[in-house]
């Protein structure tokens, strides 16, 4: 008996003394957002018993990957709601994964959206369009949650801007005011995306285009210029930049001395 009590004590005392250490570890984990969302009852019902146990054992990534594969199975069977549900669970399990938010939104707005619009079960074409727009909305909500979870990377802001540009704005149909609002909302997200130092060049280009659609041509021009000035010299997109800058300079009909690409060059253009 004595030995057992001694054994208990020798485990308990150091464990209690380590409470501050554990506290510090826990605090760091929370701050760095380790883990993921807690497993709720609904989630447990959605994913089944076996996976719930795997989750409990700490195999979040594997469960999420498996569900992701499963969601593609639903896509092929045209079971879009189940696909959506799985993608929701996956993103909830690993909210730190850019991939799941990004691709999930892509599936919703581009793939599922298109599929429901041409679905033969639609009674009228209008119904198809209505369903498609609903999926665009879902994608927007989904991405918004993604951004909440990952506010410090460019990818989701870019995707949101792209979504506004190519899906939500066209959804306005003939309502030009609605369209312009949406284009301008896109610029908000794209500006944020372009502000990240590791954002690739196409982000900046999309931002510039969105600014034009929003109506702020001056800002668009400034954006092209700044990309020309700060971009690496030898890459292909520089030809795109040149083309766009020339176009806008012509549109504003700027005098040669302020142009980056003068009409009658006396010296080579101000290279970056």
């Amino acid at each position: 008996m004595r030995a057992k009590l001694l054994a208990l004590l020798v485990v308990a005392l150091p464990s209690w003394l380590m409470l501050p250490l554990v506290g510090s570890i826990d605090a760091e984990s929370v701050k760095l957002k380790y883990g993921g969302a807690r497993v709720t009852r609904q989630m447990r019902d959605a994913i089944g018993q076996g996976m719930a146990i795997a989750l409990l054992a700490g195999f979040r990534g594997v469960v999420a990957d498996f569900l992701w594969i499963q969601s593609h199975g639903y896509w092929e069977k045209k079971q879009w709601l189940q696909q959506y549900r799985d993608m929701e669970v996956v993103a909830t399990l690993q909210p730190q994964s850019i991939l799941f938010w990004d691709e999930g939104a892509w599936h919703m707005a581009w793939n599922i959206g298109y599929a429901v619009s041409v679905d033969t079960n639609n009674v009228t074409a209008a119904q198809g369009i209505k369903r498609e727009r609903a999926w665009h909305e879902r994608a927007q909500e989904f991405l918004a949650r993604g951004i909440e979870n990952i506010p410090n990377r460019y990818e989701l802001y870019f995707k949101m801007g792209w979504l506004y540009l190519h899906k939500l704005a066209p959804d306005c149909g003939d309502d030009l005011a609605c369209k312009k609002t949406r284009y301008c909302e896109a610029t908000e997200y794209l500006r944020k995306a372009a502000s990240f130092p590791d954002a690739p060049s196409f982000v900046g280009r999309t931002y510039a285009r969105a600014l034009e659609e929003c109506g702020d041509i001056g800002a668009a021009y400034q954006q092209w210029i700044s990309m020309w000035k700060h971009g690496p010299p030898m890459s292909e997109p520089s030809s795109i930049l040149e083309r766009e800058i020339r176009r806008l300079e012509d549109q504003f009909d700027l005098p040669d001395n302020v142009r980056v690409f003068p009409k009658h060059p006396t010296k080579p253009p101000a290279s970056p």
């Binding site: 209690w16 984990s29 883990g35 195999f59 730190q96 060049s201 690496p232 890459s235």
Partner: protein
């Protein structure tokens, strides 16, 4: 004869004897068929991660690569964890029962060997077994990642060639970025941190199994206790959140090892930065805890009638 004329010989604690027993335990375990089959199976499962990663979908090459690598890493580290756990728990659970069944425990303790040297030696042998197994599985995992990385980079370059052949626009900067990103993703040195903490977790589980085996020579009991602690250990995190405000609960929960904190693999795979200091803190917690469990085992074992 009185004690004064009795022998003045003294047998002190010897690390050398601990090492001899540890190596013996390792050799004996590694020569067992069950272990070899388990390890082989583990290597096959890890290798098959590549196969599963094929079922990935994405918009563009970079996303596809990213998904495939994520799958392999998740599966690979998951397999490392699962098989490592089987080796740790089952391997340790049979140590002392086998010694009793083979009568070897009598022959060892009948020599001038301290009981603690024996216990520590057996445990160290188990830890060595876990270490060797993890190294082998990691090498397979690493080889697989390197292989996949080559394949993916090849695909990106192929796509570039095809695009150039079609006369389309080729963004070299983009291609380079993709390749660099694939390389960084595949050969992420942070994965080592994940493996280190898996190792510490497994050593901790082995210690718990050892403690159980000092109470009982039934392998079923030992394995069951270890698995119970494994699952409870993962609930500790949630329990701590639920009973945040109760100091009493916190003290009770402290007795169960919080195994959740060792599962940094998921976060590493997602690209979350895990500072070395954090790894060190978790490892320290693990080492101290397992030391206390081994000490507890010593108290129980010393008293035990063999």
């Amino acid at each position: 004869m009185t004690e004064q004329t009795a022998s003045r010989e003294w047998v002190g604690f010897s690390l050398r004897r601990v090492w001899i027993i540890a190596v013996n335990t390792l050799t004996e375990s590694m020569r067992q068929k069950v272990y070899n089959i388990l390890l082989l199976f583990a290597l096959v499962v890890i290798a098959s991660a590549s196969f599963f990663s094929q079922f990935s979908f994405g918009e563009e090459a970079e996303q596809v690569a990213s998904v495939q690598l994520k799958f392999i890493k998740d599966f690979g580290l998951g397999a490392l964890s699962v098989f490592g756990m089987l080796i740790a728990i089952v391997g340790t659970a049979q140590l002392i029962p086998n010694e009793v069944e083979n009568r070897t425990i009598y022959t060892i303790l009948a020599k001038p060997v301290r009981r603690f040297e024996f216990l520590l030696g057996k445990y160290s042998g188990s830890v060595l077994l876990i270490f060797v197994s993890l190294v082998m599985m990691s090498m397979m995992f690493g080889a697989e990642m390197a292989f996949k990385q080559q394949k993916l980079v090849g695909e990106v370059l192929q796509e570039e060639q095809d695009a150039a052949a079609r006369g389309g626009l080729v963004d070299h900067q983009e291609i380079q970025r993709n390749i660099t990103s694939i390389r960084a993703d595949a050969l992420d040195p942070n994965l080592v941190k994940g493996v280190i903490l898996i190792f510490v977790k497994l050593a901790l589980l082995a210690a718990i199994t050892l403690l159980a085996s000092t109470f009982s020579t039934s392998m079923v009991f030992n394995v069951t206790v270890a698995f119970m602690v494994f699952f409870t250990g993962h609930l500790v995190g949630t329990a701590k959140e639920l009973w945040e405000h109760s100091a009493f609960a916190r003290y009770c929960l402290a007795l169960i090892p919080d195994l959740g904190m060792f599962n940094v693999a998921d976060d590493i795979i997602l690209g979350n930065a895990i500072p070395w200091l954090h790894v060190a803190k978790v490892a320290l917690y693990g080492f101290v805890y397992l030391a206390t469990v081994v000490a507890a085992s010593h108290f129980i074992f010393s008293d035990r009638e063999i």
